[in-house]
Subunit: 322 residues, 2 copies
């Protein structure tokens, strides 16, 4: 690869070349500075896509629901990009969420783009990488961007920081694993879906969710609960209507502008932190500090003091580099 390749890619991207889109996404995914610079160059073309985050526990039917949403949006004439965030694929090498969506329907529709991303557990990695990919898809011109992520731990909260509207899927009868995460995740949900609503226990689950919503802090928007059977596309059009209503609410109430401003600020903090973290790691693995780390190992120094030395050196180094 020559040094000018990313610039060529940006031009090809602007001309609508899908291979260029895929290449730039790969650059971003692999943490290459050129990918982030390209995203920066293309950022002026963003701002028209609407971003829906889709999260929920494993087995809730996220891929099936995503598939149904793609169909529904396409039927309304909108183009759709999907970012399927897969925390395990980097480790297992198995089928990714994106593969699973593709397997459901053989999408050869040019109005649909599906991409899997592995997170690799890097802190802030999901948000930085996926956030940049969302900007690329937005700049490319997709009307709808769906971010699908497995609800384990931090990732599902992060998706709430990237999406305009966050959809939380639950399924009846999954008991205590939901119990463990429900409270925190409920706060980020704008629309609740009880999928596999033909299973026993669906009514109980809807009632429980309704009660939890009543107990939680009152908000100007009360998340609706939509019962779907995504595998049969049952009620998924009603779900799209609810997503549209939330979008309208965000616009009418001014809440959308507030959310976007908050999201911008957080993205900038994450990007700045990543810049400085890379410097910190470089400084901390510098052989020049070996004596200091030996002192730490011998308890002649403490981690707070050593960290202050590292922070100061990082700052000095950053200024020199800049």
């Amino acid at each position: 690869m020559t040094a000018t390749a990313p610039r060529d890619l940006v031009e090809r991207f602007r001309a609508g070349d899908r291979a260029a889109l895929a290449r730039l996404i790969s650059f971003v995914e692999n943490g290459k500075a050129a990918g982030m610079r390209a995203m920066g160059d293309l950022y002026g073309s963003t701002g028209t896509a609407y971003v829906v985050g889709i999260t929920g526990p494993p087995g809730a039917g996220k891929s099936t629901l995503t598939n149904a949403l793609i169909r529904g949006y396409r039927a309304r004439g909108q183009t759709v990009a999907v970012v399927a965030v897969d925390p395990s694929s980097a480790l297992t090498g198995g089928a990714t969420l994106g593969d699973r969506i593709r397997m459901l329907d053989n999408f050869d529709d040019p109005g649909v783009y599906i991409r899997s991303m592995a997170t690799r557990g890097e802190m802030g990695g999901l948000s930085i990488g996926v956030g940049a990919v969302v900007h690329l898809l937005d700049a490319y011109g997709f009307d709808m961007i769906l971010i699908e992520t497995v609800g384990v731990g931090q990732d599902e909260v992060d998706v709430g920081e990237l999406a305009d509207t966050t959809l939380l899927i639950q399924v009846p009868g999954t008991g205590d694993s939901i119990q463990a995460i429900k409270a925190g995740v409920l706060e980020i949900a704008d629309v609740l879906v009880v999928n596999k609503a033909d299973l026993p226990g669906a009514n109980d689950m809807v009632r429980d969710l309704r009660m939890m919503l009543r107990l939680s802090e009152s908000r100007p928007w009360t998340p609706p609960i939509v019962e779907t059977v995504a595998s049969e596309h049952r009620n998924t059009d009603a779900l799209i209507d609810k997503l549209d209503q939330h979008r309208q609410f965000l616009e009418d109430s001014g809440e959308g502008r507030i959310r976007r401003a908050r999201r911008d600020r957080r993205e900038v903090v994450r990007l700045a932190r990543r810049q400085l973290t890379r410097e910190i790691e470089a400084v901390a693995s510098d052989a020049g500090l070996d004596d200091l780390f030996t002192s730490l190992a011998n308890r002649d120094a403490d981690p707070i003091t050593v960290a202050s030395v590292v922070a100061r050196r990082t700052v000095d180094r950053f200024r020199q580099d800049g």
Copy 2:
């Protein structure tokens, strides 16, 4: 609270005052600089405790097993501190892991100390806060420190960065939720426990785990698999023997020294990153940048460029403050 209180607490801590230990832990947990400084002051007394991380999915019986380990170590004359890390308690306000351990046996034994900590989902928060608390417990003189954490997402990987020996608990018949996380977590496990080994499917699980271990990269230490019924203390002494064997392996092979050095370096990186992150957040919420964020919202600036400005201002500010 007067400004000198933390220093008094350090003196009382050194004299063995348990209330002072609890107060300093609270300081650390609440992210107070005074708590971290006290930890730094006391760091010279650390280095004698042995740290075991205990992780696994919800319902695997971690609290019950922790309880059995406390009993076992006490029977051998060792003092035990437990840090029960509870990702949900900050949100739900419900019973914490620590409460659950205490409910199992009414510990009024002065050789046992049990403490719950909430993580609040802050990135790197588990490692920084729990790491500092482990140092305090070590300095206080506990022989064994057990860190118990629910295995959801990033936290279980983090516990591997804090512990000398990491114990992963599984239970028969929990199917695909384990599937999703097993691969990554297996890499950090030094000892595997199949708990509730009297349930059907235990043999299958042991066989599956053995196969996964064979398929994974060969390591100088092969994690043993111990079948327990923790609620009946069945085989928990054999488990303690395995933990002792791993400790011996770490010492004999030199791997323990390597791990500790790596852990020190990571802790320093985390602490330095936290110092700089706080500055970044302060800079990013400074009204002086409002125009820049307005440009970002209007797509006249891009996030990469704005982040560079924030990083540079952070560095300038850090130097002025220092």
